[in-house]
Point group: C2
Chain length 335, copies 2
């Protein structure tokens, strides 16, 4: 049901019946390693290119999610997924192996929640029995596409972020055991004129603020409704800017319940500059770490706000500013 301008509330909140989360060797050394299902020991994943390794991540996360739920591929109606690589080819090739009807998505690092929002709508109203959805990224594939090949050793500023190598997948169904998706707010593009591609957290903060505010207004709730409001990958500086925006707009948010996926993946002694990023970032934190906390009743209601910087190397070369977006999905334990 449409509630307000841009929010769906689900009369029959669908269940996340299982998840699959995979990562690379650097993620295995990280902060939430216990919450992953599988790690690969190098960036190649026994493939010939980083991009094919990227596909492999998506296939593995899918296989794990399906296996855990004991649901075969042919029972799944739709696969909704995206990544950062040009023409989202890693996703396309994974979809070829999955053989599930496929809807390609792109909203950069906000893709995870774009997919969960749409999947939940499908399932909630009987338009899918099962939908498989997620997002993925691969550090080496992203580095050479967006910046420079890692071998060049180019220097980065402190505001830059580290693209997660991984894939996070959720299997959404009408019934079953697990936390339920209760609502979703689709964001609009916000562009405050920032042009520095090495400060995407800062660029995305106003989009997160806009979507969370829209969500509160549409659902007629405030921050007290949630145990946790977690942004996608604003990282160190973006999170502070976002908190600032809430304060300045007379809607202060309790800092202790306002977290960021980009600050949770790696340990403090891993050199990731301002924090983690990439479509996999919010996907693996949500479908690995946060789902487990919901299932252990450490949280009852969370709002995941995946954030995306919708730029490209070409738009940076053409000196355009960075359009940003955020999509918010609420996940709750319902009795």
């Amino acid at each position: 049901m449409l509630q307000g301008k841009a929010t769906w509330t689900f009369k029959n909140p669908p269940v996340i019946v299982s998840t699959g989360t995979v990562g690379g060797p650097f993620e295995e050394q990280g902060n939430i390693a216990d919450d992953f299902d599988l790690f690969f020991s190098d960036q190649w994943m026994e493939e010939k290119s980083f991009e094919q390794a990227h596909s492999h991540l998506i296939e593995e996360a899918s296989t794990i999610a399906l296996k855990k739920a004991n649901v075969s591929k042919d029972k799944v109606n739709f696969f909704l997924h995206g990544d950062l690589i040009n023409q989202i080819t890693p996703t396309n090739f994974a979809a070829r192996e999955l053989k599930i009807p496929y809807l390609g998505l792109f909203s950069a690092c906000a893709t995870s929640m774009e997919g969960l929002a749409i999947s939940s709508l499908f399932v909630s109203e009987g338009n899918a029995d099962y939908a498989l959805t997620g997002a993925a990224s691969h550090n080496s594939a992203a580095e050479r596409q967006f910046r420079y090949p890692t071998e060049y050793g180019s220097q980065k500023p402190d505001t830059s972020q580290w693209t997660v190598t991984g894939a996070g997948m959720a299997l959404v169904a009408k019934d079953g055991e697990g936390p339920r998706v209760t609502s979703a707010t689709i964001g609009k593009v916000i562009d405050e004129g920032m042009t520095d591609p090495f400060n995407m957290g800062g660029a995305m903060a106003p989009a997160a603020f806009d979507t969370i505010t829209q969500h509160f207004n549409d659902r007629n709730v405030d921050e007290t409704y949630y145990d946790l409001i977690i942004t996608g990958d604003l990282a160190k500086y973006g999170r502070l800017i976002c908190l600032d925006l809430f304060s300045k707009n007379q809607r202060p948010i309790d800092e202790s319940k306002f977290k960021d996926c980009g600050l949770m993946v790696y340990k403090d002694d891993q050199s990731v500059f301002a924090g983690a990023s990439g479509p996999a970032c919010s996907a693996i934190v949500t479908y690995g770490h946060l789902l487990k906390k919901l299932m252990k009743n450490e949280y009852q209601r969370i709002l995941v706000v995946a954030t995306g910087a919708l730029l490209s190397p070409l738009t940076v070369q053409q000196k355009q500013s960075i359009p940003c977006i955020a999509h918010a999905v609420s996940i709750e334990n319902l009795s």
Copy 2:
């Protein structure tokens, strides 16, 4: 409602209340020029780059569709759109100007029907009052990204296709005057191992065959149900291969009602090799030419099967085959 494996049939079929179609100078010389709303006199559209011109096309098509329906932007809940450019940045920048909650899509030249399918589902069940959806491409932006800059004058084989410069947009609503969207079938990725990026029609033909067959099976209809079955951009050779596949599988389709958008945009004396392509191809033919024919009662029931080649320059360099997809949407006059 889910019908069969991968098809939605809409209990409350949404209406395409208005459309907007824009093109460039080459399209103005074409075969269906009378069906466009607006042409630009050059490839630059008064912008500084082809990519910004590409955004301009999307914004203009949106403005026209909204104006025709007398619906303001703030009444539209969702904008669902995509294009071929890396990270779909022309769409992202257009979404910034539109300020409508935005879901980015990518299925290459099948994007038009991915968007119409999802938009129709949203509207049909009350999850959107209005959804604006479409697809766009820009010949010069696509050429320099996927092939070589036009100025190089590189030679092409007869099986290659010509990327349409244009944008086609539809405004989907619950009620109103106009043809209605009655069902949609989401395709899965089909890859028959073809590797020639200059024969994408041939590569995509099996995907079109697969989706149309799935559609017939799911809805329990055959070709006689439709006045017209029209593929996205198989062009001259792909269309013949697709017809062949139907014959060989004992489901022959009457050639006279099996058309292709890629064969309708340009005149015979325009040098476009095997025909037109690009996400705009099926979008402008459907929302310009075909909608008018439905409204004039020349057709009552059509099935639009947009086809997409999900490759990239990188996957071609890495010697991968071409994964392809097709999404089918039925549009009908209901009394």
